[in-house]
């Protein structure tokens, strides 16, 4: 199962980076979103995959006993999703504002500060 997920994560990273290199601003934002999702899946896979085990300490024990679902990566992913959501909301408004100010969504028109 980890192998399948590794391929999925790799595909997401590839798609994300491909989109970041496009000329349209909207595709750029979509690519960033995909990269964030790929990173989240990576944390998920790194926390060891199990089927249907709760992230709870069993009755009478004091520590998690194998097999269990590691709760820490779940918390990390939730935080990362929320942060990504906030940043993406900002990025979308930035795109809208940039389109209003510059008049086009072509990144090649945004080169005047690069000199």
């Amino acid at each position: 199962m980890e192998v399948v997920l590794a391929f999925v994560i790799g595909g997401l990273y590839a798609a994300g980076i491909y989109l970041i290199l496009r000329r349209s601003i909207v595709k750029l934002a979509l690519g960033l979103s995909l990269l964030g999702n790929a990173a989240n899946l990576l944390i998920f896979t790194a926390g060891r995959l199990t089927r249907g085990n709760p992230p709870l300490v069993a009755e009478g024990h004091t520590a998690l006993a194998y097999p269990y679902a590691d709760p820490l990566p779940q918390a990390l992913i939730l935080t990362a999703i929320v942060i990504g959501f906030g940043v993406m909301a900002f990025a979308l408004v930035l795109i809208h504002r940039a389109y209003q100010t510059v008049g086009s969504d072509d990144l090649d028109d945004l080169k005047s500060t690069d000199r």
């Binding site: 994300g16 970041i20 601003i25 750029l28 960033l32 990269l35 964030g36 790929a38 990173a39 989240n40 990576l42 944390i43 896979t45 790194a46 926390g47 060891r48 820490l72 990566p73 990390l76 935080t79 990362a80 942060i83 906030g86 940043v87 900002f90 990025a91 930035l94 504002r97 940039a98 100010t101 510059v102 990144l107 945004l110 080169k111 005047s112 500060t113 690069d114």
Partner: protein, 501 residues
């Protein structure tokens, strides 16, 4: 115990409360400005208290929510963190005073002071946290605040600059997150002290080196090292001067702080590989930054490229990984933040007087405003490394440390780059201050008002540079103690995991 946990939380709490107060009072301009100043002064006092506490009583740590380490989030202050919080507070104070005189009403109404304080909250949180994922969260806080500050005002140049800034920093955050995830999978914890303890026992050192390289790229983008710095000259010169100055002084240095923390505490098992790469990256950063600066003709673009080249000096000390090298790095960071912010503030005053940042139309400023000329020369010559200013001792420490381990090529590069930096600063001096102007001087739009509010922070920062230069001994002692604590992590680990009082 109680007092130290309060003292560790205050640098995060004070900017937060100031931001909330400024947001609630955003309809009344006076309320925002008074609160902003009060918050800046309170942060400054707290940071001095924190440094004193850490200096006298050793590394301080506090467990948030009373969850014991390594399960909870720890706030840790060693001398390095406390020094960074102090210099961040100094810069915050200077920028707040400067903004009182220059920020336009529209930006203030849309929450400029709120955003500035949230930025400072993120910066102080990043300096004080002892948990790697918490570091990611604080990085995101300061990043979002910086995104909004970059775009606030909506001018076309700002939109363009904001795009490049946002894209590359989001990429860096995604890489940071990936590295954190893989590290957790490999070691099983994210508390920095616990990681430092468990790192030698990881089964496959190759994986650890790979993770180290991922961190190097992620923090390298944030710190603007070679070859990842191209977002900086494309974006730092677009927002208003007060915002440019706080970005130039603080944001890249948080990346350098993270690099130093991670590569002295966590990834020290393969220094022949990792730190040699850091050494060569430093050399290339120094050269490409300064060559970029020489080719520019606009005040702020030149300064932006110089930020990059000076970052190379800071990572040079890290790459050497000797006590003198790291002490030189810490001293360099302190000196450079003050000097770089000062230079940006001076460029703002020049723009208000003459209406432009371009060097060609400027001229004759020294004849009319000799005090401004001196206030430019102090940070400029300090940046180039002339004695008796702070830059000289910072560069001297790094060169001496480099020669001690026989890294002669990198030292040669550092000295050559210092020479070119001097050339670049003299170019600005000659074009903007010394030569006669081409046509009639045009006043800036908006013009220079509230002269004292603009000059006071510049004079304050110049005075600090002079003090460090004329009396470097106490500052260097602090830097040496910080380097000792960084190179021997046992005190850090004990303070966090064993909870020394």
């Amino acid at each position: 115990m109680h007092m130290t946990s309060g003292l560790l939380i205050l640098p995060v709490l004070i900017p937060l409360l100031t931001a909330v107060g400024c947001l609630l009072g955003r309809r009344w301009r006076g309320v925002q400005r008074v609160l902003g100043v009060i918050g800046a002064v309170a942060l400054l006092v707290t940071s001095v208290g924190l440094l004193r506490e850490v200096w006298v009583h050793g590394i301080q740590s506090a467990q948030m929510g009373n969850w014991p380490a390594p399960f909870g989030i720890t706030l840790v202050a060693d001398v390095f963190s406390a020094v960074m919080v102090l210099v961040a507070a100094i810069i915050h104070f200077a920028i707040t005073i400067y903004s009182l005189g220059t920020m336009d009403m529209r930006r203030e109404a849309y929450g400029y002071y709120t955003l500035l304080n949230i930025l400072l909250m993120g910066v102080c949180g990043a300096f004080l946290t002892g948990d790697l994922f918490n570091l990611y969260v604080w990085f995101e806080v300061l990043l979002i605040a910086s995104f909004v500050l970059m775009a606030l005002g909506g001018e076309r140049a700002q939109m363009e600059g904001a795009f490049k800034y946002v894209t590359l920093n989001l990429l860096s955050s995604a890489l940071f997150l990936a590295a954190v995830g893989i590290l957790y999978g490999a070691v099983g914890t994210l508390n920095l002290a616990d990681l430092a303890e468990r790192m030698p026992q990881v089964a496959s050192p190759g994986v650890v080196t790979t993770i180290a390289m991922l961190f190097l790229v992620a923090f390298g983008i944030k710190a603007a090292t070679f070859p990842l710095f191209f977002w900086l000259p494309a974006s730092y010169h677009t927002p208003p001067v007060a915002v440019s100055a706080v970005f130039a002084g603080l944001l890249t240095k948080v990346g350098v702080y993270a690099l130093i923390r991670v590569f002295t505490l966590l990834f020290v098992h393969d220094t022949g590989y990792t730190h040699t790469i850091i050494l060569w990256i430093s050399a290339l950063t120094m050269i490409t930054g300064v060559l970029g600066a020489v080719s520019q003709n606009e005040f702020r673009r030149i300064l932006s490229f110089h930020i990059i080249s000076q970052i190379g000096y800071m990572t040079l000390g890290l790459g050497l990984l000797t006590p003198l090298g790291i002490a030189g790095s810490v001293f360099y960071i302190f000196h450079h933040i003050i000097v770089k912010t000062n230079l940006f503030l001076v460029s703002g005053v020049v723009q208000r007087l003459r209406g432009t940042f371009e060097l060609k139309p400027l001229g004759g400023l020294y004849r009319l405003y000799p005090v401004l000329g001196i206030l430019f020369l102090i940070p400029a010559l300090s940046l180039a490394g002339l004695p008796p200013l702070s830059g000289f001792f910072a560069k001297f420490a790094l060169v001496k440390a480099g020669l001690a381990v026989e890294e002669n090529i990198v030292v040669g590069v550092a000295l050559f780059v210092g020479l070119i930096t001097l050339l670049s600063m003299m170019k600005i001096w000659g074009e903007a201050f010394w030569k006669e102007p081409d046509g009639e001087p045009v006043e800036g739009n908006p013009p220079l008002r509230h002269v004292w509010l603009l000059t006071l922070p510049i004079m304050l920062l110049a005075a600090i540079t002079l003090t460090i230069g004329l009396m470097p001994e106490p500052f260097f002692e602090v830097a040496t103690r910080a380097a000792e604590q960084l190179l021997d992590p046992r005190e850090y680990i004990d303070a966090v995991l064993r909870g020394r009082p």
